[in-house]
């Protein structure tokens, strides 16, 4: 039983990371209609920025905050310069742009910081916390769970209760109507990218202490986050976050209980993606998009 609880907490902890990554995917999906394949690489790039700041002697938490801010601004620039010019282009062109972005950011990170695997410090104290007799969990696991929970809550409050959050939701929902009620849609698209990248940066610095830091680190979390987003419904922020948590727990359980499970975690994620697309393409909470024309 304690083993199960331990796996559950570990699963929720990585699930929290997938949940916020999935949320970042949903934000960009809702405003562009495309999955940002480069989301994972952007998060890795951010994490390298945090790593560099720490190497120069900056304490970790300020380094993380600065990284989130830099990522926010960087993604706004990226959206303007790389993504915006293709806003009206065919789906295939946009996918090519995202693949190009993926490769460019990946290679740039490799060129700047090389491909050697680097340890990344945890934002929480080392060691573990004893929750029950026989059940102690690493502080980082718990800290990461709390952090992603806080990010999810903050994002929810932002979208639900602020004027800017409402404007962002409106711009993602219907551009023309948004413009006619006076919402600056182009600014909202840029902000959406900034927010997604800021959230991605948090995911990166939470996952790096576990997986260690290298330019290839972003792919597996992206696949798990995408599986989560599709499971919950890529049009539903709530569904995507829940989907991310479910995928995290599933991953932990399969790794723990299925022989060699840890070897084919990614396969499970891919199978989940395929099954959702076959059985229920809108996901658990997503909407089937139909438009009156």
């Amino acid at each position: 039983m304690t083993f199960f609880l331990e796996q559950l907490i570990i699963g929720l902890s990585s699930g929290g990371i997938y949940a916020i990554m999935a949320l970042a995917l949903v934000m960009i999906y809702k405003s562009t209609g495309h999955v940002n394949l480069a989301q994972g690489e952007m998060a890795v790039f951010s994490t390298f920025i945090a790593w560099t700041l720490v190497q120069t002697g900056m304490p970790l938490w300020p380094a993380i905050l600065l990284t989130v801010a830099v990522s926010f601004v960087g993604a706004i620039v990226l959206e303007r310069v790389v993504v915006r010019p293709f806003a009206e282009a065919d789906d295939l062109v946009v996918v090519a742009v995202f693949v190009g972005l993926f490769l460019s950011i990946h290679s740039l990170a490799g060129a700047i910081w090389n491909y050697e695997v680097k340890p990344f410090p945890s934002a929480f104290s080392d060691g573990s916390v004893s929750l029950m007799v026989d059940l102690s969990i690493r502080t980082h696991t718990l800290g990461s769970l709390v952090t992603t929970g806080a990010v999810l809550t903050a994002v929810w409050i932002f979208f639900r209760y602020t004027q800017l959050g409402l404007a962002l939701r409106a711009a993602a929902d219907n551009r023309e109507s948004s413009r006619l009620v006076g919402i600056n849609v182009s600014l909202m698209l840029a902000l959406g990218w900034g927010l997604a990248a800021g959230i991605g940066a948090v995911a990166g610095v939470m996952i790096a202490p576990v997986t260690f830091l290298d330019p290839g680190m972003g792919l597996a979390p992206l696949i798990f986050a995408l599986a989560g987003a599709l499971l919950g419904g890529i049009t539903s922020p709530f569904g995507a976050a829940l989907g991310g948590l479910i995928v995290g727990v599933l991953e932990a359980m399969i790794s723990a209980y299925v022989p060699y499970g840890i070897e084919f975690r990614e396969l499970i994620a891919l199978m989940l993606i395929l099954s959702v697309l076959l059985v229920r393409p809108a996901g658990l909470f997503g909407e089937i998009v139909a438009r009156r024309v």
Partner: protein, 260 residues
């Protein structure tokens, strides 16, 4: 009654061309404060083109549009709410993922301007403003018989209800000119009768001018202070409803060649 004094909106020799097609041909009209102006004409007469020009969704080839004497040519669609021009669509364009209340609240977006930091961290001014906005929107919702479904989603609402939600959203921006694009389309007789009262009530209560594009001629003739008739992108008549109704060119446009 024809209004005197300064026009709220003036359209001056407006021409819109799409390739070789002339959708609007040097059309001029004006709308006065708190006037209900009906705009009629057969399909393809250019009514919706004119609307889209007033919303800045289309750009004119020549001519100008003045709001309170100021040209709106340089502006984008998102600037128009702040200039007091609100509208509804023929094919309703609501935010499908939001509640009825939030849909109407988006209309009040530009009217609540208090800065990003205050928005996120919840300043006092914002809280007060938000309370006021909330009350204002609840008032709009009850005026339009929507109060009971304020927290419901959009997806389950029928066509007539959606039309009213869009109406409320346009009003939430406190416009001085409300443009209604075929508000009676798809409504039954009872709903049309209700709409007629509603348009007048809204004009009186919110002191707005209304530009009404409508195929339902009875409604237009009953509710409008003045009617402009268009055909082939040109104005063919402008005057009191009964005069426009009897105008030979209008009869010809609607009923065919043999009338006059």
């Amino acid at each position: 009654m024809l209004h005197k004094g300064d026009a709220l909106l003036e359209v001056c020799d407006l021409t819109v061309q799409f390739g070789g097609v002339v959708a609007l041909n040097e059309i001029s009209l004006e709308i006065y404060n708190q006037e209900i102006l009906g705009l009629i004409g057969p399909n393809g007469a250019g009514k919706t083109t004119l609307f889209n020009c007033l919303s800045r969704l289309y750009r004119q080839s020549s001519g100008d549009i003045l709001v309170h004497g100021q040209s709106i040519t340089p502006f984008s669609p998102e600037d128009m709410a702040a200039r007091g021009i609100g509208r509804t669509f023929q094919n309703i364009a609501l935010f499908e993922t939001m509640t009825v209340f939030d849909n109407v609240l988006t209309g009040a977006q530009f009217a609540m301007n208090c800065g990003l930091a205050a928005d996120i961290f919840g300043g006092v001014k914002l809280r007060r403003e938000r309370g006021e906005t909330r009350d204002r929107i609840m008032h709009l919702l009850s005026l339009l018989d929507l109060a009971d479904i304020a927290d419901h989603g959009i997806a389950d609402q029928n066509f007539a209800v959606r039309k009213r939600i869009e109406f409320a959203r346009a009003l939430a921006a406190k416009p001085s000119l409300l443009m209604l694009d075929e508000p009676a389309g798809g409504l039954n007789r009872e709903e049309v009768a209700h709409l007629e009262d509603l348009i007048r009530q809204v004009r009186d209560q919110f002191k707005v001018a209304v530009l009404l594009v409508e195929h339902h001629l009875n409604l237009v003739m009953k509710v409008s202070d003045r009617v402009v008739a268009m055909d082939f992108g040109q104005k063919i008549a402008d005057g009191l409803p009964q005069a426009v109704r009897a105008h030979p060119q209008v009869l010809q446009a609607y009923l065919g060649e043999d009338v006059a």
